[in-house]
Symmetry: C2
Amino acid sequence: MQGLEILGLISAGSAILTATLAARSVLRRPTGSGRMVEVGEAIKDGARAFLRRQYTTVGIFVLLASLLFLVSPNFGPKASLAYLCGSLSSMAAGYFGMQIAIRANTRTAHSALSGLDEALKVAFRAGLVMGMLVVGLGMLAVLGITLGFDWLHDPSRLLPLSFGASSVALFGRVGGGIYTKTADVGADLVGKIEKGIPEDDPRNPAVIADNVGDNVGDVAGMGSDLYESYVEQIVATMIVGAMLGDVKYVLFPIGIAAAGIFSSIVASFMVRVRRGKDPSYVLNSASFASMAFTAISVFLLVRLLFGSEVALLVSIVLGLISGLAIGLASDYFTNRLHKPAQYVARSASSGAAINILSGFSVGLFSLFVPVLVISASVVASYAINSAASYGTADSLIRGIYGICLAGMGMLSVTGMVVSADAYGPVADNAGGIIEQCGEERARETTDALDSVGNTMKAISKGFAIGSAALTAIALFASYSQVAHLKVIDLLKPEVVAGAMIGAAVISLFCALVILAVSRNAFRMVEEVRRQFREIPGLMEGKAKPDYGRCVDIATTGALRELIVPTLLVILSPILVGVSLGSAALGGMQLGAILLGLVFALLMANAGAAWDNAKKFIELGNLGGKGTPTHQAAVVGDTVGDPFKDAAGPSLNIAIKLMSVVALLMALGGVV
Amino acid sequence: MQGLEILGLISAGSAILTATLAARSVLRRPTGSGRMVEVGEAIKDGARAFLRRQYTTVGIFVLLASLLFLVSPNFGPKASLAYLCGSLSSMAAGYFGMQIAIRANTRTAHSALSGLDEALKVAFRAGLVMGMLVVGLGMLAVLGITLGFDWLHDPSRLLPLSFGASSVALFGRVGGGIYTKTADVGADLVGKIEKGIPEDDPRNPAVIADNVGDNVGDVAGMGSDLYESYVEQIVATMIVGAMLGDVKYVLFPIGIAAAGIFSSIVASFMVRVRRGKDPSYVLNSASFASMAFTAISVFLLVRLLFGSEVALLVSIVLGLISGLAIGLASDYFTNRLHKPAQYVARSASSGAAINILSGFSVGLFSLFVPVLVISASVVASYAINSAASYGTADSLIRGIYGICLAGMGMLSVTGMVVSADAYGPVADNAGGIIEQCGEERARETTDALDSVGNTMKAISKGFAIGSAALTAIALFASYSQVAHLKVIDLLKPEVVAGAMIGAAVISLFCALVILAVSRNAFRMVEEVRRQFREIPGLMEGKAKPDYGRCVDIATTGALRELIVPTLLVILSPILVGVSLGSAALGGMQLGAILLGLVFALLMANAGAAWDNAKKFIELGNLGGKGTPTHQAAVVGDTVGDPFKDAAGPSLNIAIKLMSVVALLMALGGVV
């Protein structure tokens, strides 16, 4: 099996090399000049200051947790090291990815002056840095610790590494989400609605904070998030694989991930605008290509390793197709080219309330197909694999391994998905910079750039949510094995109670995050209003606003508010496990997965539907900008902001983190 | 055990007698004069027309279903008759209760001219008619069929009766909910927000439809809803009781219900305004008294029937206390006297979006304690009863019986809860009539009347939601027994898939109901705007609007939209059961219960928080009426309307109906 280990290391190296080359290519571009550099510097300073302070807070947690691992009799120094490796590499992926993004924004803006093709290339390569760092560092961390500590036969010892990645990701997602939405909502509410000035107008005191938010939330936060999914899924699959009695099942996920990395690198070369082609088409076809390449190389891998064992292949492909199906369903419900988002836009003509209601119901509608798809792939992967005869373990473990492989299939293309996703905020930032510099001629290019990402964003969210559900189910199944639970019986009242508490904890978590955004945005609104009121000449563009105060409000608020929701997710499984026992803790995980899945899809898609309904109107439909219909649509968009970019994506991490905590408890003999 | 049967029949008779006396007392009051009668007649016509058309639609369904029972080899004519009895008595309770409500509104309005005490009495007695009809007819139907067909030893044959009550209730709640919110939202959006005219202004074309809505939704719909909970809970407890091997456990729930009926009747005499006392205090203390009386009489009943068997008593009292705790928690989060609703009000000063976000997060917060309370009473009731030694069956059945008793405890005071709840729309209608007649001097009285119900409304919603969850869990447990499932194992993928599908179906159901309201309200808004545009002199009060068109839009829309969500709830368990088997169907019920409970609490409490935040502002706080802050709060209130009065309460029925369908399938041998 040494082949797979080497393959994994080569793929990690290639990913990091690709990231380095892409970073160099971005940094070689001209930074623009004058005002552009000035705005860029302000964004850079804000983003770095936030990340520094956030990592200080997180650092304290990481230090305490690593000490806990160190002194715990069930874990010890190796576990502590694995934990540190997981958390620090997650922070590194977020940090370096963001460093490039905050340098790529002015460069993209400058390139936009000379045309779409160049700008797209710069923005995509900046995204590629993040994408490749996530998969490269993830692979390196898992493989490095596994081989270094010789844990190939006992991969459950990797769980502290997973926990490190998860906890950092949750801090990052929650903190970044609160930051970015505080700034976004604050900027829009006063700027767009009360003052009637355009998005990204330099007179708006919150505009720099808003641009910073794109970077700390949608780049750094998102990067840690998908890093976590990736590592978690590989580790979960390795743990179940070890129960099958042959080390090749442990290494197989490494092989799948490597296939995905190589496929993503090859596909990334396809991103260039060909004359007459829609740039959306370019990004989509590169993503589809990466999936097709992955499917083909996994096919070869299965043939090589397992011969005619097709059950494994079917699960992986099922996972890929499910991810795509969930993404396309989300796209249908949220893209402004389709009926639902247009319906939401039309309903805005009856006022903000009806707009909110229709967006909310579109969100509820949209989750039906994805949930069915996930259910179907769980049942089908389990059935096909438990019926197949590979491995030496019983059919239950084989079935669970099948579910894990479906998750692996979904996550194998993470490199490409993250690249396409991180592209969005870079393009968004570039648009903001262009607006603030008054470079009207390039605004059209950056608008085109910005709109490119929509379908891709929906698809990557589909992958993130779908894989979170599958990973969480896989972790839940591993938990039952580690905790020696033969059944988790819903007829036991403590299991039902556990499920209810899990659902309630997820709801409380959402409440805390949304409340944090609305409370913080409230402060931001007050500050922006104050500046317009007290700084003479601001509205006329004769005076400069105090951007720093707004950046500070967003930073301080986000750091204060991220602690409680994160601790809730980490501590509540411990409480339930200790007080109600291991079966109740199993029920709790299921309750959390159910609610988390429903809320994540609801919030992502309702948010996107409101957003795109607003954009549909801004393109001149239904009266266009400045009408009451547009105002109503802006309200919907604002409500959707913390849904889709703060609470929603944090849920993906929360449900997995709860399962990881449960697994660690089982491993540590607490339940 | 004949004593209990006779006690049950006497209690049913007393309830129906009390209803008749209360109805006569209401009808003896003067109807008022001139304009008041005219408005009253318009409301009456609209309400009767809607109920007639709704019952025609429902009648077709009832006819088809009764034929199905008749020809099905597993059921036959007795089942068909039981089904008809369940559905027709539910319709009767809704019909007669509403007949009194639509006569009590003008009488309350007229009494308001001479003071608060009289008006409160009339409105409460109208509510009492509904409350007593619900418990009287419910008891009569269950006991009549049980004794008539001699099913005391096989109460599971009563399930068609439950199904009848459930399906009619779901049609009534969904149809009534869509109707009332279409009209309410339509009236508010154009009248209050666009035209700036007050609530219930006669110039508003949707005002009559709005008043009709209170009756068909909050009286008739609510009545069928609680009728269903009541019957369902008694039947579920009887079914589990039969498994304990002694007929006294089958009759015990009848005894508890009888104790509750007598207690409610006695407590109802306490409702009169004493000088210097807040009328809210009057209603609350009557409700608390009914709970205390019930607890005492159940204590005596247990002593008499079971001697020292305290486990049974503990469960019942636990249920009562839990219901109260859930209600008080809801009250804390939604009452305008407490911080959360005031926070929502304050956040409206940053605009509609922040108001929506804070109300939504208050809703999410508010469900934590109730869910913990329900979990705790499930675990505690089960533990105490399974450890006790009564009955001949195993401890599992005793534990389940304990959970059923907690539900019985909560529902024993249904008579009082419904009375206090049905009081609300009567008072609301009276206020509307006063406003339309321009009787400014009595407006203060009706406003005071209207505000009385708030805490009580929160408490009765707490009882409705809490008991729905407990009943659904009891039904789920009975299902496992009838379907011969020894375990429902969460480690089986089809159980997880079932749970996910259950969650998705509940989400889809909510989506359909909310979409129905927003779509229908959209039509209503268009019509109201058209009338203001096209009828000259309307705004100046010189011309009369066409109320009939608005009533028609609400009616037609509600009837068209109620079918799909109702069929979804009935057919989806059949599909899952047939395709994935009985264990998956069990999982589906749990998924539906989890999501249903979370959504029901979220929607009820977020809706109430927005509503009360708006009222808080309208009392002159934060600038009062007509300010942008008030406008923002109105948006929140409008979003909350379909949440709290259409989708939210329908969920209580939906989750139970799904379990009843599952039980019928198990009973019919389909799964």
